[in-house]
Every structure is written in C-alpha cells, then in structure tokens.
C-alpha cells in the first residue's frame, strides 16, 4: 500500500511526460504523413507549367490537432476509460441485487407509454400534441415493432436478413390494395396482411435455406429490391411510383374517425380534431408492439424458440440432435415476416398513402442497425435503440436553433445520416454487443443467470 501512495505523484508526473513524448511523436508522424498532401499544393499556370504553393499554416494546424489530441487522449481519456473498466469489474458483485427501479423498469416504461398521449394533450392541447404523438410516439413504435420482428430472424435464429423491408411493403400494399379494390376493413386486413407477409417470408426462405452468412445476406438484399421493383413496375395494380393513395382509415369498433355524424368526434360530442385518430393509432401500435413482445417472449420458451437460438449457435449440432433445420429456419423467416406485415398494414392505415419510396434498402438497414445496436435478441435493448435511432433523427428536425450558428441555409436533417453513422461507430466501440449484450436463459434449474454476450454467437446465416 505504501508503495502505491509513494508512486502516485511519480506516475502523475510520468504520465504527463509520457503524453508529451507521445504527442511529439504523433506530431512528427502527422508531419511526415501530410507534408506532401497538405503542405504543398500544385497548380498550373496559363502556359501549363506547374506551380507549387507551400501551405505551412494548414500543415501546422493539422500537426497541432494531432499532437494536442494525442496529449489529451493519454492524459485524460485513457485514465478515464481505465478507471471505468476497473469500476465496472468491482461493481459486478453488487449488480445482482438490482434496485427496485431496475427490476420494475419495464412496468414503469409501459405505464409511461400508456399515459403518454393524455399527458401530452394536457400539456400542449390537441393540436399541439399531434407532433409528439405522431412523430415521436407512433414513428418510434413502428420501428420498435419492425425491429422486434426482425429480431426473431437475426437476433434469435442468427439469419442475416437485409431485405426485411420487403415484408413491411407486402403488409402495407396488402392493406392498401385489398381495401381499395375490395373495400375490406382494417381489422379484417390486419391479420390477412400478416399471413401474406408470412407466406412471402416462406417464399424467400425456401431458396435461401442452403445459403449461409454473406451469401444469405446478398440474396435477402436482392429479394427486398425485387419486391420494391415489382411494386414500381406493376403499374396496373400498384400504380407504380405514384403509389396508392386515399387508403381508408382504421376504425374503432366500426366508429370512423371523420367529420360524419357517425364519426368519433360527433358521437362523443367532442370538437373536431385530427388528433383523436393519431391517439387511437398510438394505442393501436402500442398494442401491436406488446403482442409482438409477448409472442417473442413466449416463443423463446417454446421448443421452436430454443431451436432458433441453437441454430444460431451451431447448425450442425442442431441436425445431430434431430432438429429439422429447414422447418426451423422457415418458421423464423415467416414469423419475423408476419410481424413486418402487421407493421406494414398499420403503416398504410396511418399514412393513408403508400408508394415504393417508403420501402427502400435504407429502411432495412435502419431496422437491422436498431437490432444490432440494441443487442441481438434483447427486446429491451432493441426498444432503447429504436428510441435513440428514430427519436434522434426526429429530434434533428426540431433543431431549428442550430440555424443561428450555422446560418439560415443549414438544414440539420441533412446531417442525419452522418450523425447516425457516427453514433453507431461510437456505440459499437463502447458496447460491441449492443446496449444489452447478455441474454436471458429460457429455462433454469436453480437460479436464473444472464449469459454474457461473449459466449453467444451471431450466427452464420
């Protein structure tokens, strides 16, 4: 102990010394690297002879940034990370006795979600609540549901699916087309959309069963694009890029949300507002999300759910235990697709308009990113990731004040993808297994212990 006490000032001093040394070294490295790229600029004059300008100022700035950055890294950031790591190692023992809050966090979250619309309405009024309920509430919950659906395929069964948005599209167009051609109601078409999406999930599943890993990812990517291109080019049915518009709204036990005498507002003697429909949709998607979560949690404890996870861990071992991996993969694809289909038909009912524009590859990538960021297989982690990713992008739209700093032409939404990517890199460095890296066992003999993420595998397709 005495030694460490004596050592502390010495290490402090040597730390700064070490930092200065490393900073100097970094500066020299940077100078060497950028001398020719940044230090000189070549140009040509009117008679095509080259002119070389020196740019010592710019070069100096680069070198200074690198050197100072390295200095700060060594003196402040690295000790901080080290201390955090040590604190974490020490905290493991206490972690078992989860606090009351931690234990019941999901219940709190659910109560907060149920009371979210009334609280917002009482704060901002019906008209003011639209933005919060629709942009933040419904938008995020749609992504939560999609990510939970994809989680079955990617997180549990370990099959990398880059074309998940195709099932979302199948669900949305099923509702849009069947309701406009045959006049069927939302409540009839919701299950039908799910079944159709599940059917397409199987159609996709069959040819890709033999593929694994990268090959599977490419084929699913292609499948997503095929569905989108069919939607664009089958103009007789889908109206192509114009999309299907004026899709009927969902009704509450047959009560429509419109201005008619039978409408929701008149019936309850309320003033007309479009907010009722949005609030209704909020609760609807909340219920759909809860169903998705419930089914996923139940399925994990069923033999089929365990087989999915076993498939992710080792497919050959699964076959050696008598598990039919073909049907196991197909059920994962089709159940995942089914939830995508539900979300799709909800999306169509909410927008009242669908076009192939909504189902580009970017959507698949975002949903997959949410699953990976949240921690594969963890419902809580994925919900948090969905809030961060979709809520974050919605927040950027609200950042009007940034215009004061960057000028009136600055549109923060354009930087959305940049920030999105940056956030992902940061999270993956700090939490390589996602927000919730551990998995909860589906059965236990004596004591339920979370399985650390370092043991689970990501699957090979």
């Amino acid at each position: 102990m005495a030694n460490t006490v004596l050592d502390t000032p010495a290490t402090e001093g040597s730390l700064v010394g070490k930092a200065i040394k490393e900073a100097l070294f970094t500066g020299v490295m940077t100078l060497g690297l950028f001398l020719l790229y940044i230090g000189f600029r070549t140009d040509q004059d009117i008679s095509n002879t080259p002119i070389v300008y020196g740019r010592p100022g710019l070069l100096a700035i680069f070198v200074a940034i690198a050197a100072v950055g390295r200095f700060l890294m060594v003196v402040f950031v690295q000790p901080l990370l080290k201390a955090r790591k040590e604190a974490k190692a020490a905290a493991v023992v206490q972690d078992r006795e989860a606090t009351f809050f931690k234990k019941h966090i999901l219940k709190f979250a659910l109560v907060a979600l149920i009371f979210y619309p009334p609280v917002i309405v009482s704060l901002y009024g019906f008209q003011g609540s639209l933005k919060f309920v629709d942009n933040f509430g419904i938008q995020i919950l749609i992504y939560v549901m999609l990510a939970w659906g994809l989680n079955i395929v990617v997180g549990l069964a370990g099959l990398l699916d880059l074309g998940y948005v195709a099932f979302y599209a199948v669900g949305a167009y099923s509702y849009a087309l069947l309701s406009s051609y045959y006049g069927l109601s939302f409540w009839v078409l919701l299950p039908i959309s799910g079944i159709l999406a599940a059917f397409w999930g199987m159609i996709l599943g069959f040819p890709v069963l033999r593929l694994r890993g990268d090959y599977l990812a490419i084929v699913t990517l292609a499948f997503g694009e095929i569905i989108r291109l069919v939607l664009i080019n089958w103009t007789d049915v889908t109206k192509g890029t114009f999309g299907v518009s004026s899709i009927p709204k969902a009704t509450l036990f047959g009560i429509p949300f419109d201005a008619s005498p039978n409408g929701f507002a008149k019936m309850f003697g309320l003033p007309m507002s479009s907010a009722y429909y949005k609030i209704f949709l909020f609760y609807l998607i909340l219920v759909l999300c809860l169903i998705t979560a419930y089914v996923t949690i139940r399925l994990r404890r069923m033999p089929v759910g365990r087989a999915w996870e076993a498939l992710r861990e080792d497919e050959i071992a699964c076959r050696s235990l008598g598990i039919n991996t073909v049907t196991t993969k197909l059920t994962a694809f089709s159940i995942g697709a089914m939830f995508g289909g539900f979300a799709g038909s909800f999306f169509a009912a909410r927008q009242g308009f669908v076009s192939p524009e909504s189902f580009v590859f970017m959507e698949s990538a975002v949903i997959l990113a949410i699953v990976v960021l949240g921690g594969m297989g963890s419902l809580t982690g994925i919900a948090v990731a969905a809030i961060v990713m979709t809520g974050g992008t919605e927040l950027l739209r609200e950042m009007e004040f940034l215009k004061h700093f960057f000028g009136p032409d600055f549109t923060p939404e354009l930087y959305r993808m940049l920030l999105f990517g940056l956030a992902m890199v940061v999270v993956m460095i700090l939490k390589p297994r996602g927000f919730v890296g551990s998995r909860e066992p589906s059965a236990f003999l004596r004591e339920k212990k979370a399985v650390s993420g370092s043991f689970t595998k990501e699957g090979h397709g």
Partner: protein, 293 residues
C-alpha cells in the same frame, strides 16, 4: 426407410450392420468396401491410425455424408429397420435413434448447460406443444412435458457430474466438462445407438477414468455404443468389440485381446513394411505352434 425384420440376413442382436460401405471424395477412396457389425448392448470401438477413415465412417452412419456405395442398416429394439444411407441426418437421430458427438466439441456455447439438454429433447417437446400452437396458448400438456424434460435433463446432468453448473453458459465449462455435456446432450435424444467421436481426447487420466464409468453405465442401461478412440487405455478397458481400420479398409475385427495381438494391427500402428508384416505373421504363427507342442 422402415422395414420389419423378417428375412434380413443380420441376426437380431446386431444393432448396426455396415455392408460394403465405400466413400469416395474425388480421387480419394476414404473408405473402401468396409463391412462390420455392432452388437446390441455392447461397446464397439473403431480404431486405426490417423487418416484411416474412422470419422468418415461416422459421418456416413449419422447421415452427414452420403456414402458412394454400400448399405448401413440400423435395427431398433422394436424390430424396425432403417437404412441410414438413405436418410437425412436429422431423421437418423429422430427416427432411427442414432445420436452422435463430435471430435471438435459442438455445444451451443451461448445457451446454458440446461438449455443445451432441452434443445436435445426438441422433437418430443415440439409434439407436446402441439407444434408450438398449443404451447403458446398455455396448454397443460406442454407444461407437464416441459417439466419432465427438465427432470430428464437434471438426471443426465447428475450422471455427467454437471448438476451444479446447470445454469452456466455451456461455453464457460472446462474442456472435460464440455465433453461430458456433449455426451449427456446426445443421451437426451433417447438414442439406441450412441456414436462417440474421440470422447477421451484431451482428458486427463482422472477424467478419462470417470468417462469409462459413465460409458459403461450407459451401456448397461441398454444403449449400445460405437466409439472412435485414440486412447488405447480407454479402448482396451471398456470395449467389447474392436474394429481396426487402415486406409479405409478393415484390417482386424474382434475382441480387444484378439486385436491387440493381431500382427497386422501392430504393423499398422508401428508403421512397418508389408514384407515385415508377413514376417511378423509367420513369427507369431511359429510361436503359437511352439506353444502348442
């Protein structure tokens, strides 16, 4: 492929009969016209130098390879016959009741030890859960079967001396414990024939001894065993019947004592030339003759 045993050539105590099995990989003849039988209630060992084709035979029996030629007949206790060379791998475990372990351990490392054993009871639980549908609705039949499955898993955990690790991830176990877990997992599929690919590889002498006891007790409870092993102390100690392979062909077949003294086997393991083998054979014969006189 299920046939009732009636006019088959094999005797009822043969659980597995391999007939004229050949497996060709391109130009390489990994197994060449191999025939042997494994008897019910016995431990049959398949031994041979590296590259003799032992694991290939295993992969053919368990359906991971489709043999180029030959027939593999599995006779179950109830008289059903299955021609394994025609069945897909998972049906061999599910219907023909042949379970296997792997040379390089293949556990579900991210699942707990208990879950590993529950996955092995997949088909039974799947039926009990009404192919998931009844289970989702909370059917009491499924609940009862799930409880039974956990009890069975606990039984095998106890046998494999892993009961106190039941809720730990399988990847966290030591090497020897992982080997035992793999055997316990295979046993949870209720096999009639258990195929073990080098179960003693990497075990210390104490663990090896415990393994012998476990394998013997499995045999005494009615499951026949077929094992590949390099560790001669294990082979000679526990097997009732030994088949020796070299270059994909059978060079010896019989009791451990017989095989141990077979000059061909000695030659294969020590690596001597063919004429030396002949010399050794004549030597052994002359010795036998000398003793007789």
């Amino acid at each position: 492929m299920i046939m009732k045993v009636s006019d088959s050539m094999t005797s009822p105590e043969d659980i597995l009969s391999v007939e004229h099995l050949s497996m060709r990989f391109g130009g390489l003849m990994a197994i060449n016209d191999l025939s042997f039988t494994a008897r019910r209630g016995e431990i049959t060992a398949l031994i041979g130098p590296n590259g003799a084709g032992k694991t290939t035979v295993f992969n053919c029996i368990t359906g991971f390879y489709k043999p180029t030629m030959g027939m593999i007949r599995m006779t179950r206790q109830n008289g059903e016959e299955h021609l394994l060379e025609r069945l897909p791998d998972f049906i061999i475990t599910r219907d023909a009741k042949v379970a296997r372990t792997f040379q390089n351990i293949r556990l579900f490392s991210g699942l707990t030890v208990l879950e590993n054993l529950l996955v092995a009871q997949h088909n039974k639980l799947m039926r009990a859960s009404g192919y998931t549908l009844l289970g989702l609705l909370g059917s009491p039949i499924y609940k009862r079967e799930a409880k039974k499955a956990i009890e069975k898993a606990a039984h095998w955990l106890e046998r494999a001396d892993l009961l106190d690790r039941a809720d730990d991830p399988a990847g966290d176990l030591s090497y020897g414990a992982q080997r035992r877990l793999e055997i316990a997992r295979a046993m949870c599929t209720d096999p009639e024939l258990l195929c073990l690919d080098e179960p003693a590889a990497g075990l210390n002498p104490k663990e090896s001894l415990a393994l012998n006891t476990l394998l013997r007790s499995i045999r005494d409870e009615g499951t026949s065993l077929l094992l590949i092993e390099h560790d001669m102390s294990v082979v000679m100690e526990i097997s009732d019947h030994v088949v020796v392979l070299e270059y994909g062909q059978k060079i010896s077949d019989g009791t451990p004592e017989h095989v141990k003294n077979d000059p061909k086997v000695i030659a294969a393991y020590l690596g001597v030339d063919d004429d030396e083998v002949d010399e050794a054979i004549s030597e052994v014969e002359s010795l036998d003759g000398g003793q007789g006189a």
